[in-house]
Structures are given as C-alpha cells and as structure tokens.
C-alpha cells in the first residue's frame, strides 16, 4: 500500500459527511450527486435551484483546488480517452437505473443503514473491482495505476 493516505482521506470524508448533513438540514435533500444531476436532466423537476447551487459549489471547489493545490488532480489521464467515454456512459446509465452512486448510496444511504444502499454499494464495489482486474491486469488497458 505505497500510496495509502489515511489522514487526508479521513479529513476529506469528514467534510463530505458535513456537506451531506448541511444539505439535509437546509433542504431536506440527500447529497447524491447522480440524483442531483439527473433531476436537472428531467423536464419538470421543480427543485432546480438547490441542485444548480450545489453543483456550482462542486465546480467552485474544483477551480479553487486547481489554483491552490494543483496536486489534487492528475497531470494526465491514465486511461485512453475511448475508455473514459465508455466509463462515463456506464456511470451515467447505471447510476440513474440504480438510483444512486458512491455519494447517495455509499455515504448517505449507509449512514441511514438503508438495505437498498448497502446492497448497491456492495454491488458496485464488486463489479468495480472486477472491472479493474479485467481492464488493468488481463487486458492491460491504461497501464498499471
């Protein structure tokens, strides 16, 4: 585990937990990124305002980190672009079909001990590990991380 960074990981996780709690306290909403984005792509979603402001915050965080702490982001993509596109399609389709992603199921749902979210999280971690094994070890796509 040469790249293991437990302290920043815990600190960042705490910020994410605070964020999810603030959104629940203020708007009564689950901080599930795929759900927040997906709602904006659905005609007639009534609560667009909080979604747009939340996403503006995410983007502002990215811009701020890129300026103050460039090491937050990789200098170059470790995956070929066609693989990035396939990955994006699967993530978009899968998160909407399964009603959530790492944030909504993995953080918010597990915090509520939701059986659906625990099932989803176990499932996407298992298929994620399988995808990494096949793509990185068997097919050698994108090289070793």
């Amino acid at each position: 585990m040469t790249n293991f960074t437990p302290i920043p990981a815990l600190l960042g996780g705490i910020l994410i937990g605070l964020s999810a709690s603030l959104l629940l306290l203020s708007h009564g909403k689950i901080a599930g990124i795929s759900g927040i984005v997906g709602g904006l792509l659905t005609p007639g979603t009534p609560d667009r305002s909080y979604r747009l402001w939340f996403l503006a915050g995410l983007l502002a965080a990215g811009v701020t980190l890129a300026v103050l702490r460039p090491s937050t982001f990789p200098s170059a993509s470790s995956s070929p672009l066609w693989l990035v596109a396939v990955a994006g399609l699967l993530v978009g389709y899968g998160t909407r079909l399964g009603s959530g992603c790492t944030s909504g199921h993995g953080v918010c749902g597990i915090s509520r001990l939701s059986a659906r979210s625990i099932t989803a999280t176990v499932t996407f971690m298992a298929t994620g590990a399988l995808a990494v094994f096949v793509s990185r070890h068997l097919l050698h796509l994108g090289g070793r991380p």
Partner: protein
C-alpha cells in the same frame, strides 16, 4: 411540494454544501482516478484510502443525520426528501453493477468527475459529457418501459418525485 424557497439562505446553504463536498473529495484524494482504481485493485498494489473517506463521511453523517431528523422539517423546505423504499429489485442491483464497471474502468464517479471539471481536465470534460448522455439514455429507456404495468409497493409522498436524489 412547497414553492421554491425565497431569499439567499437556501442558495447559500446549497452552494456551501457543494463547496464542502467538492473540497472533501479533493482533500481526500478521490479526484485522482489512480487512487480510486488503487482501492478497487485488490489484486495489485491495494490503496485503502477510499475506505477511510467513506468511514469518515459515514461516521459524521450517521450521527448528524439522526440529529437533523429530530427536527419536524428542514430549514428551507416543508418536508424531508429521504428515500423510504426497502425492496431490493433488479433495477437497483443491475444499475449498481453497471455503475461499478464504469467506475472501475475510468476511476471516476459523478462527484469527483464534476469537481475535476474545475481543473479544466479534458478527460473529466469527456467523462462528464458521456455521463450526461448515459443519464439521458436511461431516462429515455425508462420513459419507454414505464408504460408497461408493473407491481409497485405502496410509497409515501416523499417518493413520488421523479428522482429521490439518492
């Protein structure tokens, strides 16, 4: 549903929440696809960092969730919009399985990908564009299949909106 909240409070709270979430993802290293792939790479040089991100987030939110839910209503909305479904269905498992494959292939899930847009990364722009197309495709196939009758468990009002926001 209540009407859209008025004033700057609701917007600021949502903006601050997004900001905290994004900084948390960046600080924790989750905006580096190599760290995400390192966590999923159980046969290689395993990186347990992602598990610590989840432990930190869940520990905080599990406590604060229970405190917040003691309130009758949130600050700026008439009700809590928390999913209440308990059934495990094929859509949930199939969707999570597909998401996991994409997550493992690219090392991006939706949050870190959106934060990475702020860095101007071409890979992040491509990933987010493809993700939005994937979401629209799912919505389109969903609209095409919901015409067929299917058994649904009784759902409370909080579940009637199109996206539970999980």
């Amino acid at each position: 549903m209540t009407s859209e909240p008025k004033g700057w409070g609701p917007s600021l709270a949502a903006l601050l929440s997004g900001l905290l979430f994004g900084v948390g993802l960046g600080v924790s290293g989750m905006t580096l696809p190599a760290k995400v792939i390192g966590f999923l790479d159980v046969a290689g040089d395993w990186d347990a960092s992602l598990a610590f991100v989840m432990v930190g987030a869940i520990a905080v939110h599990a406590v604060l969730y229970r405190l917040v839910r003691r309130r009758p209503v949130p600050l700026f909305d008439g009700t809590f919009h928390v999913p209440t479904r308990r059934d495990l269905d094929a859509r949930l498992v199939g969707g999570a399985a597909l998401f996991g494959v994409g997550w493992g292939l690219g090392g991006f899930c939706p949050g870190p990908a959106l934060v990475s847009l702020g860095s101007g990364s071409g890979a992040a722009v491509l990933f987010v564009a493809a993700m939005l197309v994937g979401m629209l495709l799912q919505h389109a196939t969903n609209a095409a299949t919901t015409a067929a009758p299917k058994p649904k468990p009784p759902e409370p009002p909080a579940e009637t909106q199109p996206s539970p926001g999980e």
